[in-house]
């Protein structure tokens, strides 16, 4: 069956929704994206901006690490000249970090992440603001992106392929008849009016709000809103992303972006991700831990302090650091006997394209559309085209 006239509503214009819309539009479906706020105003926007090499997951969560390095390389091709590509360091500043190095290098080998070992002197020659306590470093192909602009690039390209993008359009209900979702009720926040959009299928890409959406179809999805605090410091003191060479923990990464250094992050769980109070002790922890790697960060002023919930898949009883960072696509027909409804959850902005591909594969199989994914090789339009198209 051809994709013509088949329509899909995608809920959410973060990186996941944007990538799903781009993939489906490329395959010829009639896509409408509804987003309750501005583009990337949720989890994606308040991002650490790290283009993952996979290094952060290569020991404990190798599935995620492999996804990261594959997508990292693809994004370099499809959005060239839109990424800061200066690599990343994993630095050892303690004996425990040095003990971790062997596991880390084995992880890089297993996940095929390119790496290079450096002595402390070599590392500090390249990054002079690294701590005097630096013992060694490993270089990996980390990078830095602009999350909102990445979404706008996906969406600009989707719009060129006839997708309709509706920001400030909040889903207030799903229309379900005979066990099938066939439309959404939305509230237009510009005109303050409600209306319906009929569709063949709905994709729930609402991130930490996915459960709120799925509940409208009496379906539960196991998404745990898991906030983290990030602090953007005034001034850039490294060109490379600086990671702590150890098991993931609070305040173990400094991402340089433009003229700032973003220290992150912490982790806890909340029920309502709409407004999350910034925890003062977490902010202090960012200064303390970040400056263990880059000491000057304890002496400069913060520029922005922010918090946002990650949409991790799991149950709230699990230790949030132990939850895998990979993504999962739920076909609610198979899982919950609700047709026409798919949820994509988990993941991270680095792997958004892959999340789009997996979701579009599920959607196309359900709708009987036989079109291959082409997003691996399709260059995205500039984010600046978003408003023009």
């Amino acid at each position: 069956m051809s994709a013509e006239r088949l329509s899909v509503v995608v809920i959410g214009a973060g990186s996941t929704g944007a990538a799903v819309a781009h993939d489906l539009a490329l395959r010829g479906l009639a896509v409408t994206v509804v987003e309750r706020g501005a583009i990337a105003s949720g989890t994606t926007g308040r991002n650490h901006c790290l283009l993952h090499s996979g290094g952060r997951y290569c020991v404990k969560d190798q599935e995620s690490a492999v996804e990261c390095i594959e997508e990292n390389m693809i994004l370099r091709e499809i959005m060239p000249h839109s990424l800061e590509l200066n690599d990343g360091f994993f630095v050892a500043v303690s004996d425990s970090d040095m003990d971790y190095m062997r596991k880390f290098l084995e992880g890089c080998e297993a996940c095929e992440i390119p790496y290079k070992q450096l002595t402390a002197d070599e590392a500090r020659q390249q990054e002079p603001y690294l701590s005097e306590n630096t013992l060694a470093a490993v270089a990996v192909p980390d990078g830095v992106f602009e999350p909102q602009r990445m979404c706008m690039a996906f969406l600009a390209t989707a719009k060129k392929n006839n997708a309709v993008v509706k920001p400030f359009t909040e889903v207030v209900g799903l229309h379900v008849t005979g066990g099938r979702v066939h439309g959404v009720r939305v509230w237009d926040r510009i005109s303050l009016t409600e209306y319906d959009i009929d569709t063949d299928l709905v994709v729930n890409a609402a991130g930490p709000w996915a459960e709120e959406i799925s509940a409208m179809a009496n379906v539960d999805v196991p998404v745990v809103p898991t906030p983290g605090v990030m602090v953007s410091m005034t001034g850039r003191y490294a060109h490379k992303v600086i990671n702590r060479l150890n098991v993931s923990s609070d305040g173990d990464i400094v991402v340089p972006q433009r003229e700032t250094s973003i220290i992150g992050t912490s982790s806890w769980t909340v029920d309502n991700p709409d407004y999350i109070e910034i925890l003062e002790d977490h902010v202090q922890m960012m200064y303390d831990r970040g400056s263990e790697m880059v000491p000057i960060l304890n002496k400069v002023e913060p520029r922005g302090i922010f918090v946002v919930a990650r949409p991790l898949i799991g149950s709230a009883s699990e230790d949030e650091r132990e939850i895998a960072r990979t993504f999962q696509c739920f076909d609610h027909a198979q899982r919950d006997n609700v047709e026409g409804f798919v949820t994509i959850a988990g993941g991270k902005t680095t792997t958004a394209r892959a999340m789009g591909e997996t979701t579009a594969d599920v959607v196309c199989a359900k709708l009987g559309v036989d079109e291959p994914c082409r997003t691996k090789t399709t260059r995205l339009l500039s984010y600046r085209a978003f408003y023009r198209i």
């Binding site: 105003s41 303050l192 953007s232 520029r303 922005g304 500039s382």
Partner: protein, 254 residues
């Protein structure tokens, strides 16, 4: 200790006259103005419309006017604007852009100019403080937030004027290309009455830019470049072939 602040927000709703709504918000004074806006939306008024993304002055989407000045509310503390417990915070959309709703303006005119200027998204990184030049890259400083366009008195009165963001972007494009004919084409684009010569040198743009772009300084440099080019042409001297790296203006210190 929290402060209780009185917030007024201009409400722009389609087909209705502009009104002002009032809210009382309890918030710690070192939180940012964007936290105030988000808190009002989450706890008091779901009809409030605003744009935001990164919350650390990187995406440029939250720019508004707060107590009369253009700001990125994500990096401006409540205490620096409201001044005292019980004080007032008056919020409105950017000036000189079409208003879509409440604090949301249509950024299309700015993005059209930026596309025309062709400024690269990533360029050579400035060296780290106290360190020599090296071969790294970084995002351009301009975050395309629209603050300079809102603050510029010429943009306010002349819709033909290319504006500070676009002119600064053309300067960066010239700096990034080694192709003499492309540099010449870019300079042609701005060496016009509604380009670099329309600026009134008010310097509001450079004063309020949250990202050290210094558009006014760049406009002045473009004027010098255009003037030198005219003199060279008058004297029959050929265009220089080398890139213009190294001609830069002193960034505005925040």
């Amino acid at each position: 200790m929290s402060w209780t602040i009185n917030v007024t927000i201009e409400r722009h709703i389609v087909a209705r006259p502009v009104t002002t709504d009032r809210y009382t918000v309890e918030i710690e004074p070192h939180r940012n103005i964007l936290d105030v806006i988000e808190k009002i939306w989450a706890e008091q008024d779901r009809t409030l419309t605003f744009r935001h993304g990164c919350h650390h002055a990187s995406c440029g989407s939250c720019a508004i006017v707060a107590n009369g000045r253009e700001v990125l509310p994500c990096i401006v503390h409540v205490e620096d604007t409201v001044k005292k417990d019980g004080g007032t915070l008056a919020l409105g959309p950017l000036r000189n852009f079409p208003v879509i709703a409440d604090l949301v303006v249509d950024m299309e005119p700015l993005f059209a100019v930026m596309e025309k200027a062709g400024m690269p998204i990533v360029g050579p990184a400035d060296p780290l403080p106290g360190q020599p030049e090296d071969d790294y890259n970084a995002f351009e400083n301009c975050i395309e937030c629209g603050i300079c366009m809102s603050a510029c008195p010429v943009v306010a009165t002349d819709s033909e004027y290319m504006g500070p963001a676009g002119l600064a972007a053309v300067y960066q494009s010239i700096n990034h290309t080694a192709d003499a004919s492309e540099r010449s084409r870019l300079l042609d684009m701005v060496d016009t009455p509604s380009g670099i010569w329309r600026c009134h040198v008010a310097y509001e743009c450079s004063e309020l830019c949250p990202s050290n772009v210094d558009p006014a300084g760049k406009i002045m440099t473009l004027r010098r470049m255009a003037t030198f080019r005219r003199i060279r042409r008058l004297l029959g001297i050929k265009e220089k072939k080398e890139a213009t790296h190294g001609i830069d203006t002193t960034p505005v210190k925040q």
